[in-house]
């Protein structure tokens, strides 16, 4: 493993250096952002790219409609980022829109506050009757009484991460996969790097940097604890069930308050039905309750009846890193989906930043915030340019 070269660069007048822990969408986007600003970035990833939370994602590119009523801050972030991703990485998006469909009177009644909330945060909507909705998507239930169209879409989670990393490496970043952080290097009250174990050689390697960004997401508390720090994190899993047979092209959402089994997301030749929500102790060991799988077929079938009785092609779950305290709530659904960047200088530890909360749709904005905080520490005043920089093809990650 090459190391020590970048680490001593600054002392010799080279660029400032950063280590990003994690190569999910947040870590990958943060590496890209920092590299564009001239920082020499090293990404350390304990597994493969996107092998944690991001990979096991429903791929719903949120318009923000899902959050508009209860969590307008998240909704605003979503619609802004949805439009930015459509400009910078259209290659890996299905931009077919989404429908929020009412299947009962309660859903219809929810339509008015939903439309108003969307208008407030700037999500364009179009009203459809049940018949108009079924004309667009004939597989919808006969029980659909009305619908609201929004600019939802679908992204490919792995390839989004690879596109961010391909662009980051073209700006000089290096990505070290299969290395696991075992220690933070702390001198005095400053984090100066990480000690990683290379999984292929078994060797421990010390990597130094001017700043360390913790984008380990549901594992972020374990990393922060290595510096004696505490981050408020509730790892919250949700089940997704994939069934063969792509019978809708738009994302189908139940028009109502977010609940279990209320989204059906087309992806390639399949539909994904999701999701549920439960707090997990260990993000590495998530047991999927059989009842949750049944519930997905039941509830998803109320939107798209054809999914009922199909064999699942895949059943999967990963832990979302929601911001909160375990025990605050019995389940994570009521926690905000917005994100937060923790500058641990506030707790007396310099050189160390944790980015938490959020979702893949808003990964670029989360990265911008994390990179702003990191760059302030590095005295780098280059502005963020990721919103207007087209990403390279994911294939270039491998074809360097």
């Amino acid at each position: 493993m090459r190391h020590g070269l970048l680490d001593s660069a600054r002392r010799n007048g080279g660029p400032p250096t950063a280590i990003v822990i994690g190569s999910g969408s947040t870590g990958a986007a943060t590496a890209h952002d920092l590299a564009l600003r001239g920082v020499a970035v090293t990404v350390v990833e304990r597994g493969e790219i996107a092998s944690g939370t991001t990979g096991r994602n429903h791929g719903l590119l949120h318009s923000g409609g899902r959050y508009a009523v209860k969590d307008p801050e998240s909704a605003r972030e979503c619609i802004a980022e949805r439009d930015i991703l459509a400009r910078i990485v259209p290659e890996i998006l299905e931009l077919n829109g989404g429908l929020f469909v009412a299947v009962d009177e309660a859903g219809l009644a929810y339509g008015e506050p939903f439309r108003q909330a969307c208008a407030v945060v700037g999500i364009p909507t179009r009203d459809l009757s049940g018949a108009e909705a079924r004309e667009l998507e004939p597989a919808l239930s006969e029980r659909v009484l009305g619908a609201v169209e929004v600019p939802d879409g679908v992204f490919d989670p792995l390839h989004l991460c690879l596109a961010f990393l391909a662009t980051a490496t073209s700006s000089g970043a290096r990505v070290l996969a299969h290395v696991e952080v075992e220690e933070l290097v702390v001198r005095g009250a400053t984090v100066e790097g990480v000690v990683v174990r290379d999984r292929q050689t078994g060797r421990r390697v010390r990597l130094e940097a001017d700043v360390v960004v913790n984008a380990a997401r549901p594992w972020a508390d374990r990393i922060a604890a290595m510096a004696g720090l505490d981050v408020p994190l509730v790892p919250t899993a949700g089940v997704m069930v994939a069934v063969i047979g792509r019978t809708v092209d738009r994302v189908i959402n139940r028009l109502d308050r977010p609940s279990d089994g209320d989204i059906v997301v087309p992806q390639r030749q399949t539909l994904l039905i999701g999701t549920s929500s439960w707090v997990v102790d260990d993000p590495d060991r998530i047991a999927i309750p059989a009842d949750d799988v049944e519930l997905m077929f039941e509830r998803g079938g109320e939107l798209v009846p054809g999914v009922r009785g199909r064999d699942p092609r895949g059943v999967f779950a990963a832990a979302r890193p929601l911001i909160g305290r375990p025990g605050d709530l019995s389940a994570g659904r009521d926690l905000s989906r917005t994100f937060e960047c923790f500058d641990h200088a506030a707790a007396g530890v310099e050189g160390f930043v944790t980015i938490s909360g959020g979702k893949t749709t808003t990964a670029r904005a989360m990265a911008e915030k994390a990179a702003d905080v990191a760059c302030a520490k590095l005295a780098v005043d280059a502005p963020c340019r990721t919103a207007s920089t087209p990403l390279r093809s994911y294939r270039e990650y491998y074809v360097a």
Partner: protein, 252 residues
């Protein structure tokens, strides 16, 4: 319930403490009725040997990154139920894909094939089938535009691993790339279809195929590379596509 013990026979590359590559046996507790092969591999990593290197991301046959050989056959372990490949007693052999350089253990380097796909400018999205038909009937009302979806090909490279020609000729474009070439001929989008046909008809193209159809047999996504190679031959000989076949695929 993790009521059974499965012995995985996993290919391991050389590293400090292991002088030469070879198989290593790792025992894991599994639920034969609920677990996939990927669940077993992941548990081997999480609970037995953190040095095991393997790829995985989506866990539902969408990203293509986890493809390996299971008892000699190319599969996506994420959608391969243990019950489908394991009798509850024998060992299960996990090997990297063939015809590609091994990065470590069961992870291979896809760069050569992805580079060829990139050179073709093979798009990741396609027009959905229903809208292809709609576009062919311009009288239809399509003010909503044509819907798009990701291509069937997951770029998992199972087909390349199974191909007997690819094993003998590293320059052979191979089933994944030729299937992509056929898709471009079918729906050019932004690519240069004529150039792509020239390439497919060239020295390392469709005429090298020996019609073994192993690629189509192992494709987890119903792409049917061999059928597409035959269609390319037809196009090259006659300038016309083969007679339309019913929409194939795992989706049907």
């Amino acid at each position: 319930m993790l009521e059974s013990t499965l012995v995985l026979r996993v290919w391991r590359t050389a590293r400090p403490g292991r002088d030469r590559p070879g198989f290593e046996e790792i025992a894991v507790r599994v639920d034969r009725n609920a677990d996939t092969v990927l669940d077993a591999i992941e548990r081997a990593w999480a609970e037995a040997d953190p040095t095991l290197v393997f790829r995985h991301a989506c866990h539902h046959a969408s990203c293509g990154t986890c493809a390996v050989r299971v008892d000699g056959r190319e599969r996506l372990p994420c959608v391969t139920p243990l019950a489908a490949v394991w009798n509850g007693r024998s060992k299960l052999t996990i090997e990297p894909l063939r015809n590609l350089p091994v990065v470590a253990d069961v992870a291979v380097d896809p760069a050569a094939v992805l580079g060829r796909l990139a050179a073709l400018r093979f798009p990741y999205v396609r027009t959905v089938e229903l809208d292809v038909r709609k576009a062919a009937c311009p009288a239809g009302d399509d003010d909503i535009g044509l819907a798009e979806r990701f291509e069937d090909c997951l770029e998992c490279l199972a087909c390349v691993s199974a191909c007997p020609v690819a094993s003998g000729d590293p320059a052979y474009l191979g089933p994944a790339v030729l299937a992509a070439a056929q898709r471009i001929a079918e729906e050019p989008r932004h690519a240069d279809a004529e150039h792509v046909l020239d390439l497919a008809g060239g020295e390392h193209g469709v005429w090298q195929c020996r019609s073994v159809w192993a690629c189509s047999a192992v494709c987890p996504s119903g792409v049917d590379p061999a059928g597409r190679i035959m269609d390319l031959r037809r196009r090259l000989l006659t300038g016309r596509p083969a007679a339309p076949a019913p929409a194939a695929g795992a989706a049907s």
